[in-house]
């Protein structure tokens, strides 16, 4: 019988600890043990992207990582994206351009877009479409999301020079 394992990691800048079986998925650990339910879980096999979080600076599927693998990691979830009560430019752009309806895909969409804009700060529309193809949205038809990511790219380019 596998023993539960202890896990220490940093989530949204705060040191957190937990104990779980090795088979527990990171997404379930985040939601159930850390009680951060902003990270959603859809397909559990890497297709939908709802569970995407930032692990050590890069977007990854939290349904395809075991919680024990996150030992020592720095994780950013959707709860950590706004700073001091102020939306991140991506969140602001999604609000302005109707980048969401039901909101199920939105946490994964925002963190995927955050990583995408870091590696490609000045994307073309086609590149944005390819980038957000990593996350499925059943509501919006994507048009608002594409506009939002484009607007956020321009805003981030303006504010960071």
């Amino acid at each position: 019988m596998p023993e539960p394992v202890s896990i220490s990691l940093t989530v949204n800048g705060i040191a957190r600890e937990g104990r779980c079986e090795p088979r527990k998925l990171l997404v379930d650990f985040i939601r159930e043990d850390l009680e951060l339910t902003g990270t959603h879980v859809g397909c559990e096999h890497g297709i939908c992207g709802a569970c995407t979080v930032i692990v050590n600076g890069e977007a990854a599927r939290s349904c395809l990582m075991l919680a024990v693998q996150a030992e020592g990691a720095e994780i950013l979830t959707i709860e950590g994206l706004a700073k001091d009560g102020k939306f991140h430019p991506l969140q602001e752009a999604f609000r302005q351009h109707h980048g969401l309806q039901c909101g199920f895909c939105t946490p994964g969409m925002l963190l995927t877009a955050l990583d995408f804009l870091r590696v490609n700060p000045h994307p073309t529309e086609l590149e944005i479409r390819e980038g957000i193809a990593a996350v499925l949205c059943r509501c919006t038809g994507y048009q608002g999301i594409v506009k939002a990511v484009d607007a956020a790219a321009k805003e981030l380019g303006r504010t960071t020079g």
């Binding site: 019988m1 596998p2 394992v5 079986e21 090795p22 088979r23 527990k24 998925l25 379930d28 559990e44 096999h45 890497g46 992207g49 995407t52 692990v55 890069e58 977007a59 990854a60 599927r61 349904c63 395809l64 990582m65 075991l66 024990v68 693998q69 995927t112 990583d115 995408f116 590696v119 479409r129 390819e130 980038g131 193809a133 990593a134």
Partner: protein, 288 residues
């Protein structure tokens, strides 16, 4: 669903990993990027007694170019390969194909060793290993051996690796600076596995062809090297007629299965069409 119970080990060295694999006598699985294995665990299609996680072995992640060969540690992430200058210069074919592997968040975790050990017939990296005549280094209790692409892939999701062996390195011959390369792929959506993919390397001046390399993804249980089509180009050059003949030959050389995504006949047709596109695009990129 959620994975069935397993014991978890994260060894700090390859030797330790091999010893652990031996201890479970075939009932343990190596965990690399987890982008193929964890879905199988979640669906309980795979229920190993133990997972041996390679993610805590830093010495397995590197890219080294020397003597005309680029060596990749098995745990090198697809994302690292995507943004590597060495790969862009020495193996542009691999750079291009990497952008077709799933999506950026998949490539954050997915590894070159895992993609090749998993041996999905629709995957890009096994086709490149076949096209370039690459090899892998495999380590087990009896020591190290190298395995050529054609001896590695056996059938769907099956390689000649033993259950207590670890794939430690992937070696790809660097592509000559003057040669052109292209990876053409058709899939229903960006980031999906290829219905058909064609890797092409073309060398030679003008209409002459000193070397052609062609291999498929998705056209059968293992990647298929299209040697007879390559020979047409090497013998008859890069005019419209030999390219059309090579493309027709390519379609004859494969025997794909039908599945939910495409019929066998459609895959054969695509093999011809994409071979022609890949050859033309690789030609146009020569000498750059």
């Amino acid at each position: 669903m959620k994975p069935a119970k397993f014991e978890y080990h994260a060894p700090g060295s390859v030797d330790e990993a091999i010893a652990l694999l031996g201890r479970y006598e075939g009932d343990a699985k190596v965990l690399a990027g987890g982008q193929s294995l964890v879905p199988l665990l979640n669906f309980r299609l795979s229920r190993p007694a133990a997972l041996i996680d390679l993610n805590r072995i830093p010495s397995l992640a590197y890219i080294r170019a020397d003597d005309g060969v680029v060596r990749f540690g098995a745990m090198t992430r697809q994302r690292t390969i995507e943004f590597s200058d060495v790969v862009r210069q020495r193996l542009p074919l691999l750079s291009e194909a990497t952008r077709l592997v799933g999506h950026l968040p998949i490539r954050t975790r997915g590894t070159i060793g895992g993609s090749i050990a998993h041996a999905d017939p629709s995957a890009e990296y096994p086709a490149i290993l076949a096209a370039l005549d690459g090899e892998v280094v495999v380590k087990g209790p009896k020591g190290e051996r190298t395995v050529k692409a054609r001896e590695l892939f056996q059938t769907y999701l099956t390689t000649s690796l033993e259950s207590d062996e670890v794939l430690t390195e992937v070696r790809l011959p660097a592509i000559d600076a003057g040669a052109g390369t292209a990876f053409e792929e058709f899939s229903r959506r960006h980031g999906d596995f290829a219905i058909i993919g064609i890797a092409a390397v073309i060398a030679g001046d003008g209409a002459s062809c000193s070397m052609a390399r062609l291999a498929t993804a998705g056209a059968g249980p293992i990647p298929v090297r299209l040697r007879a089509a390559e020979e047409i180009l090497e013998r008859d050059g890069l005019g419209d007629a030999p390219i059309a003949a090579a493309a027709a030959r390519a379609a004859e050389l494969v025997d794909p299965d039908s599945d939910i995504h495409a019929s066998s006949a459609y895959r054969k047709h695509l093999t011809g069409v994409l071979t022609e596109r890949a050859v033309r695009r690789a030609m146009a990129k020569r000498g750059r």
